[in-house]
């Protein structure tokens, strides 16, 4: 944190106390009017003036170029405006009834997909997370597990979903595989970092009793990381539901497919209903998972 206080005190117009009293008596007025600056100006964020101006000009140039590349078709926007208003109207009067069958099926798929993917993802990511912790795993295992994590983290859900849909066909199974795959990268990484930060003294104490590697894991490592593992799993459950609403766009099942269909059919009141349900469920899972996390941690 940069504290501005240190910068302000240096130039503040308070006369110094160290001056001898006799000197002050000789020139009582001049000190206040001339020698000290009577105005304080905030020092600029970037001290070098040339660099500052170069940056400002570069940013301005980029903005002109960037905004110039937008190519807005105003006639199309004017056309769409009416649709936008209709959509806003849909939010005020969402239509849950007429497509309830589709919505229900989509939500069911999303929820089941979320739960199964999270459970399987957690089960797979625990051994990978242990393998990716430098203080528990030998170097080759460590490198392998870190590699798996890097691959899983750098591919976005929707891209993985495209590939899985091409492999196992349309439907929630592709979504389940996608979410489980994404969960592995997220959870293993955080779990590995957590294991690396455990209190080494406890592990050593357990090891000193003659415990094997598995017993050390069970009695020294697991109690230390378990609360955080539960918290992270719940957090990932939350994220997986959000993502399950998206990967349906490329055919991986879930409520995203329902939403996509509703928008394609210009049924904005149904789309608004789906969106409101998504927001409600996300808020619900977020609050309940943060409550549970506060209980465990």
């Amino acid at each position: 944190m940069t504290r501005p206080a240190s910068r302000t005190t240096r130039t503040s117009p308070v006369p110094s106390e160290t001056a001898e009293p006799t000197l002050r008596d000789q020139a009582p007025r001049r000190h206040q009017s001339r020698d000290w600056p009577s105005h304080w100006r905030r020092p600029p964020l970037i001290a070098d003036a040339r660099l500052r101006w170069a940056l400002i000009i570069a940013v301005a140039c980029y903005l002109v170029l960037g905004i110039g590349s937008l190519e807005v078709n105003w006639a199309r926007v004017a056309d769409g405006w009416e649709r936008g208003l209709r959509f806003l109207g849909g939010f005020l009067q969402p239509d849950f009834q007429s497509r309830w069958g589709d919505i229900e099926q989509g939500l069911m798929e999303s929820l089941t997909m979320t739960l199964t993917a999270t459970v399987v993802g957690v089960l797979i990511s625990v051994p990978i997370g242990i393998g990716a912790a430098r203080n528990l795993a030998p170097m080759p295992v460590y490198l392998l597990c870190r590699g798996i994590i890097a691959v899983s983290r750098s591919l976005q859900e929707i891209i993985v979903a495209i590939l899985f849909v091409a492999m196992v066909g349309f439907g929630p199974l592709a979504g389940f595989l996608t979410l489980a795959f994404a969960t592995i990268g997220f959870l293993s990484k955080l779990l590995a970092e957590d294991i690396e930060e455990i209190d080494a003294a406890q592990a050593e104490a357990v090891r000193a009793t003659g415990a094997s590697w598995l017993q050390v894991l069970n009695y020294a490592v697991q109690p230390q990381v378990m609360p955080r593992l539960i918290g992270l799993s719940l957090y990932r459950l939350d994220i997986n539901f959000r993502e399950s609403a998206v990967i349906g766009i490329v055919g991986a099942g879930g409520v995203g497919a329902t939403l996509n269909t509703a928008i394609d059919r210009y049924e904005y009141d149904s789309a608004a209903a789906v969106l409101l349900l998504i927001i409600a469920i996300v808020m619900l899972t977020e609050y309940s998972s943060s409550w549970v996390r506060r209980q465990v941690q």
Binding site: G66, I158, I159, G169
Partner: protein
């Protein structure tokens, strides 16, 4: 080496142990129910077929068609613009929202703060792709829909982190500025803003990095950028081009992550 009367050491009491097993049993049960519900309409022939499909897909995907790169530079520039302009727009909206949402700067705890918090939550719970899906039907396909979609999604993220930063400021500095006779706007300018500036810059760069990641796929729903090319290539099953686009996206994501990590390290 426990004697006859001495109880063995246990980690938990018997009741706690039973309760735990019950919890795990319920979770397993829930999993089984969800699994059967999810897969009741699954055609398993497709799944058993998956390894051959995957091998087939892979054989079609390599080698990537490198010559396709010529038509990817412009979409890549568009993607960059979507992320950057979207982040800037989000900052413009999120900063006032954050100040309205923070407990210590909001004008009204009862009226304004809940509204600001609702804006933050609503924006956070809807993915950028869904915003883009909506905006494409309203604004038409193109970069503008992408920029606004990114902005709408980022407002919640930036707003949440920023208002938490505002709530955690050192109140003594604010008091000191107020003691000099500063008005509310001056207190904000000299007492609060300098304290949250580093956090603000860090959040902005962090979100920009995430937005680069998200803007690469926005084109799937027509919102411009390299995703448009991805969708076009997937739709005509031009897998060598898809591979090249994946490589480009991966490189962009890694580069932006590296850049943002460096900038954040320099800031904080």
């Amino acid at each position: 080496m426990s004697g006859a009367g001495q109880p063995l050491w246990r980690r938990r009491s018997r009741a706690a142990e039973l309760l735990r097993w019950l919890g795990w049993l319920l979770l397993v049960l829930l999993f089984v129910v969800c699994w059967t519900l999810m897969t009741q309409e699954q055609i398993w022939e497709f799944v058993w077929d998956a390894p051959t499909q995957a091998a087939d897909l892979f054989s079609r995907m390599v080698p990537p068609r490198w010559s396709y790169m010529d038509s990817l530079w412009l979409p890549l520039w568009d993607t960059l613009n979507i992320a950057t302009l979207g982040t800037l727009l989000a900052l413009l909206i999120a900063v006032p929202v954050a100040f309205l949402a923070a407990r210590n700067t909001t004008p009204s705890l009862l009226l304004v703060r809940p509204v600001a918090l609702f804006i933050i939550v609503a924006s956070r719970s809807v993915n950028a792709l869904i915003w883009a899906l909506l905006l494409v039907t309203i604004l038409g396909p193109g970069l503008l829909a992408g920029v606004i979609a990114i902005a709408l999604r980022s407002v919640g993220f930036i707003g949440k982190l920023l208002y938490e930063a505002i709530e955690e400021i050192d109140t003594r500095q604010v008091e000191a500025v107020r003691a000099t006779g500063a008005g509310p706007a001056q207190v904000l300018d000299y007492g609060i803003v300098p304290q949250i500036l580093p956090a603000f810059a860090g959040i902005a760069v962090f979100r920009w990095d995430i937005n680069i990641r998200e803007s690469t796929v926005l084109g799937l729903v027509g919102a411009g950028g390299i995703g448009l090319q991805l969708k076009a290539s997937v739709d005509v099953l031009a897998w060598p081009q898809v591979t090249l686009i994946f490589i480009v996206i991966l490189a962009t994501v890694i580069a932006s992550e590296w850049l943002s990590a460096r900038v954040r390290r320099a800031l904080i």
